[in-house]
Symmetry: C2
Subunit: 348 residues, 2 copies
């Protein structure tokens, strides 16, 4: 019997945020790929596109016209998944057919008037303006009585279902705490009740000591490949101190957050020298009026690519039915990301 080597032997790892295990198959990275390839194109986009419904001054599908905005611009999504309307409903308890109306607000946040920019190519000050708007939106929407959770996220790249390259993110604010957030909250709470500490604060402290999966660090935040990451180049930005949500951040901290987002997305772009696709989003305390000492601000980045610009990881059969599976280890990914250039390849 040989002894266990995590770079050679299949193993499972535990995700304490979701209280579940994932499968790691480091030996599988070498398998040949004859399957689907993605069309990740690398065209330089214009500053203004007359056909883009997010550009300054252009008409949207519903006939409204965008103002001649500069910088960040927020508006209600014309095709939202939620509605503000409070409908009448009588609940019938049922084992198998439970259903509840859900109220909410969907917003779109344009990061810049410049159609051809992306976060890694923006100035830190301009990304800081985006963070300011996230904070304002969290405050404004959270103040609504019926809004108990605010999901801020960005889908980037057509492979991630993004239908418009104009730099933008979204907010889905709603009455209920969504399933995955609730699971995370339950686990943060259990740890907090057991130890009196923030799970993510203790985790980050250990990661900084070990210094194997940390990719980036500044005064207030770290960028880390979680020990339990499932996507090949998945990362997480975590605040060093426990901040339950965006409202806790000072101006300096918001600047630090903007800076680490810029650095991380530059690293991503440099990996395969393309505008790197991902879904990213913030997990923070719900706006349900309860105290949430267990919560700790973090931002997940889930990028789909695996081998190169054209081959993604498919989370399909086994992953959908059984559990997430990854090939290269989180430590190998962290090593690759750490060695990636800090200057954007387009500026070289």
């Amino acid at each position: 019997n040989s002894s266990f080597n995590q770079n050679k032997h299949p193993h499972r790892r535990y995700n304490p945020l979701l209280d579940e295990w994932i499968l790691v198959s480091p030996q599988r990275a070498s398998r040949p790929w004859q399957g689907q390839t993605e069309r990740v194109t690398e065209e330089k986009l214009p500053i203004h596109d007359p056909d883009c419904y997010l550009c300054s001054g252009n008409m949207r599908v519903n006939g409204e016209r965008n103002p001649d905005y500069k910088g960040v611009y927020v508006f209600d999504n014309d095709f939202g998944s939620l509605m503000k309307e409070d409908v009448e409903f009588s609940d019938e308890p049922s084992d198998f057919f439970s259903l509840k109306p859900e109220r909410g607000i969907n917003r779109v946040i344009c990061f810049s008037e410049n159609h051809g920019l992306t976060l890694p190519e923006m100035e830190v000050d301009d990304i800081k303006n985006v963070v300011d708007v996230w904070q304002e939106q969290y405050k404004e929407l959270g103040a609504e009585d019926y809004i108990n959770h605010i999901q801020i996220f960005e889908n980037k790249g057509s492979v991630m279902g993004c239908s418009n390259p104009h730099p933008h993110g979204q907010i889905w604010a709603q009455s209920s705490i969504p399933s995955s957030v609730l699971r995370t909250q339950d686990n943060l709470k259990k740890y907090f009740e057991k130890t009196g500490n923030s799970l993510l604060k203790d985790y980050v402290k250990k990661e900084l000591e070990i210094d194997e999966r940390i990719i980036l660090e500044n005064e207030d935040f770290v960028g880390v490949v979680p020990f339990w990451a499932v996507w090949p180049y998945e990362t997480m930005i975590v605040s060093k101190r426990k901040a339950e949500n965006l409202l806790r951040f000072s101006d300096n901290e918001k600047f630090s957050l903007a800076a680490i987002i810029k650095d991380l997305t530059i690293i991503y772009d440099n990996l395969f020298e393309i505008s790197f696709p991902y879904s990213a989003g913030i997990h923070q305390s719900p706006t349900d009026g309860e105290p949430h000492p267990e919560w700790h601000f973090h931002m997940h980045f889930y990028p789909p690519l695996l081998r190169n610009a054209n081959v993604k990881k498919f989370m399909v059969g086994y992953e959908m039915l059984a559990e997430p599976q990854r090939d290269i280890t989180p430590e190998q990914s962290a090593e690759i990301l750490k060695n990636s250039l800090r200057v954007h390849y387009r500026d070289k």
Copy 2:
């Protein structure tokens, strides 16, 4: 205030198998789509492809040659995610860095020697042979001391990460019960302990009474769009009587299972008149030597397409971070599937 209408108003539904809620946005189906389209090609494939590593008599990547098989053929995956080897390992308990070696066996099951066939185009008798092999494999692999769970599944279509169109499925047999299966098991168990009945048996009974989401039914199985389905055309095949796993099925029942798989996949193919992509797989009792009276055989079908052959549903940003979201309701999907022809479009 208008009163709630499930075809008009956003709502959440409860999934009792996973104990979590999902978001349904029926009003969103009409939004325009300018995003990524899929390349689902409709070429007729040859009966034998000299470059296919799954065809009879051909050489595989590792230098082994496939026999001149007819019908079903099983072999160990040349690039498995698991290894049989029992490695030495000493456990160190940890809050954040829990890791355990995982042993297992990966197999590939060719459904037919005919490179150009798919399940809906096969004869029921030939699909029955596939079911026989699933049963044999479950028995053979489950008899291994270190194999406690057997995941049988099929990824179909390149959009589902399938890298070879030769009709085939996979088996991942392993020491641990995977995360999603464990969650399902916990919920089946809770219901069984509370009521003494099988959750899925009671559910199917109710669905047959309501007759709104049932698409197919034969002597032994139903095909249903679950009340809590997340993929646009997600379905589930469930045995009418409680059978914990494949070993419980008689020859007749295996024939019924083959027949309903054929009918369901014909309906899928006819929907957009293409070879319909999906990931499908069986959930059944683990082979851990424990009694599992709570378990009830079912097979999930997760097809990615949404509007037509070229536009899929993206489970991205919100879905990855918060919870699954769907547009058309399960009832609308069931209606469409029920009205789909029972004769394969290629045979019309």
